[in-house]
Symmetry: C2
Subunit: 484 residues, 2 copies
């Protein structure tokens, strides 16, 4: 049997790390805070990157690549931006054997270097919009790190668009939030809440930040993607003006938006169980593992049987692997469950005699007996069902752990237990009215570590009532939670 991992109910954090390490998704790096993404982890990132890239292109975006190094002076041009990122910067002071005249920052995000080039490329409304994205590594020096979820270097995409009007830029910000929401739900099986961030939680340099927020199995929130309306802040900082249709001059309007390798952590935390990784089938390196069950005297004939099944599934375009090693079936079952392969096909002499196989689902453990000729169709059906069910299961979990909270005592009671783990009756998402004030929001954070995750776009009707934190007249409905 594969080495057991820590149970979620015993130690949720350790359970997560156990899966990452034992499913060989990632490993620690000799450089503090960095990570090594191993092939099985990178394959997940690659699949989600390709699908997201397809959706970006479908919405008219193009990829480009901007330099890793940014002059320190560029960051200082946008006051809030430099203030937000200063504590996290890695700085190159020497290169080519000499001390540099001006230190170079390793990009924590690329607004400044990109807008310095947009100044060269944008003269007139005819040059707009620019709808650019880049896939890149960024560095934000972190004191407390966790594989995938928070690392000093991570991989991400960052979209940076330039527009003629405020309305167009706001529409782009909202469009990309919606692209993320649909992608998270359809592809990653992550139900998310899309909405605007509070002032205190927005991106350094943005006018408005929007996010998608997911609930992990420990009921904490994880910010899975952000989309920022940057107004004219970076255009002003880098003097990017354009000739308008009316012949005047105006500053260009901007957005930026990104998701990162953190998503891989979100996927693991949302779907996996005490046996190991559970993956949405579309993300799995192998959709199906075939485990032949044999003794020495039946090995040859069983393998002949499973080889045909392997060939049929390959011909059907499935990502499939056959495990013909001499380890015991039980050992193999545990190993492939750890690795998160969505479907397992078991076939031994009895199945052979009946012309059938057993197919087991990774998420539910459910087993079905299937005639050989039906395997490709049944596999397609089960994979589609699993993709759908994982989303619904996660959504049901989130709904069961989201509560309407009316006032501060109720809020404190809801978050009374630190962490409020997977089996606890308290904790989760609190939904409540909010006055929009910074003070009550700050007090809640200080008292409980709970923050406003966002103000769901589809829940801003019927906001008459009192702020659930301070009792003042409400302006928004917000989602509160502890978060990663």
């Amino acid at each position: 049997m594969a080495e057991k991992i820590t149970s979620r109910s015993v130690d949720y954090s350790q359970w997560y790390i156990d899966i990452v390490l034992k499913a060989k998704l990632a490993d620690y790096s000799p450089v503090k805070g960095s990570m090594v993404i191993r092939p099985r982890g990178y394959a997940i990132w690659e699949r989600l990157r390709d699908e997201l890239d397809r959706r970006f292109k479908e919405t008219g975006h193009q990829n480009a690549y901007f330099p890793l190094f940014i002059p320190m002076s560029f960051l200082k041009k946008e006051a809030e931006h430099v203030e937000g990122f200063s504590p996290e910067l890695a700085v190159v002071t020497h290169a080519g054997g000499e001390e540099l005249e001006e230190p170079l920052v390793v990009r924590p995000t690329s607004e400044t270097i990109i807008w310095s080039k947009y100044r060269d490329w944008i003269q007139s409304y005819r040059d707009l919009p620019l709808l650019y994205n880049q896939w890149a590594n960024v560095v934000r020096w972190e004191k407390r790190t966790r594989l995938f979820l928070r690392t000093s270097e991570f991989l991400w995409q960052e979209g940076h668009t330039a527009h003629e009007t405020r309305a167009e830029a706001v529409a782009e910000t909202e469009l990309m939030l919606e692209v993320y929401r649909k992608f998270a739900e359809e592809y990653l099986c992550l139900p998310v809440i899309a909405g605007k961030k509070s002032e205190s939680e927005k991106f350094a340099g943005a006018v408005d930040t929007y996010s998608i927020e997911a609930m992990m199995q420990d009921k904490k929130a994880l910010q899975a993607g952000t989309s920022h309306f940057l107004g004219q802040n970076f255009a002003k900082a880098f003097d990017v003006q354009y000739q308008t249709r009316e012949g005047g001059l105006d500053y260009v309007w901007a957005t930026s938006w990104g998701v990162s390798t953190r998503l891989v952590g979100a996927i693991i935390m949302t779907h996996s169980d005490d046996k190991g990784l559970v993956l949405p089938p579309v993300l799995a390196q192998e959709e199906v593992v075939i485990v032949p069950i044999f003794k020495t005297d039946t090995k040859a004939e069983v393998l002949a049987y499973t080889d045909k099944i392997l060939a049929a599934l390959k011909a059907a375009g499935r990502r499939v692997v056959l495990d013909a090693d001499d380890n015991s079936p039980g050992w193999k079952f545990a190993e492939w469950e750890m690795r998160g392969v969505p479907l397992r096909i078991e076939a031994g002499p009895k199945d052979m005699a009946a012309g059938t196989v057993v197919i087991a689902r990774r998420d539910t453990g459910e087993k079905v007996v299937v005639a050989v000729a039906e395997i490709p169709a049944k596999v397609a059906e089960l994979l589609a069902a699993m993709q759908k069910d994982l989303l619904e299961k996660a959504r049901a979990f989130r709904e069961a752990n989201t509560h309407d909270i009316a006032d501060y005592p109720a809020m404190l009671a809801f978050y009374s237990k630190e962490g409020a783990g997977i089996d606890s009756a308290t904790g989760g998402f609190a939904r409540g009215l909010w006055c929009g004030g910074r003070e009550c929001e700050a007090k809640l954070k200080a008292d409980t570590k709970v923050t406003i995750r966002n103000m769901p776009a589809d829940q801003q009707q019927d906001i008459n009532g009192a702020c659930c934190l301070c009792g003042a007249p409400a302006k928004h409905r917000a989602i509160f939670a502890r978060s990663y």
Copy 2:
């Protein structure tokens, strides 16, 4: 008309830069030596990356991702390696607001960080081989840079494999050289010479380096990819031993291999002309541009005609764009020629009346009249022909400019003119016997800047004779050239 670019015969270097900038492939960056890859340039990289990645996976390789930062002490573990890379390093000394205890190097290549992890992952022959690749950015601080060809930061892939035996590692080195050779020829239309580098030109830390070398239109060589047999050098430096099949302990055998965004420069330099970019069709963002030819009174009907052609080509899966702007046809022709779109379809009222269009090839300028119903088939045929012809044209150019050289006076005469430009009768590749000695090789370089590019694998028979540099008995046949 689009702004003219410098002619190749007037100033080859300026011609190249003109194309890169005016076809909007790349731009200078505010950070010295770095570049910005613009969408039209990145699209070329993306297409070649995806195809190469497919070929890597087909040969059993998996992608992973290792950290950007490497502790300085790691580089020092392999003596030749650190000596080779020291002058080019960018160094992070401060991060998170504090001075680091140990400076971190921004990876110039990743052998050291990767082998430090291989130590954790390899215990037994059962763990071998590891066939990993990563797509990443690297930094090598350069004094003299040129867009795509030599930049301080560049994008590349680096394969790093670990093997049980010397023979297996050598076979992998040769396999990947062959993957590169076929890819360069089939996909990039770059005819290349595959062979071993001389001792003085090999990778810092390698036992043997192999390269593929292409000839640019100015007859200089460009190293388009390298594959290194690393022996046990890095395994010894990082103490990576494995239990052998016989129960003993041995050091692991290694290879590494890479190509970079430099390939985009090679493609531009090999195929383009004085009108601008010429691209192998498989690499082009748009395979076809349709230019409707109309006056105000015929615009609507011509556009109705070309819209149908556009739809038919899209339905056939072609990458096609229609330029319906009000600029003159001549202006549009020049503009799309500059951008390197392989085929142009022209259609005006006369073509409409005849139910035909004119299709022009970007590389030859050749025009054919084609009936509307035949367009998709003719387009497919012309694109395939162009892909084939570009390779053959480049191969013929290389052959015409490769000469057998018997002795040093002949060598000096061949390289008598500095640069020996595109129209010159001298210069190019010299093919000659070589004794293998470092001294005559060094003297040639000092006298002429000419180096040994490699020793072609398929030309090492019949090497009886005298070294063309010093007259000593020959051991190899080599290709000599000035190079990028």
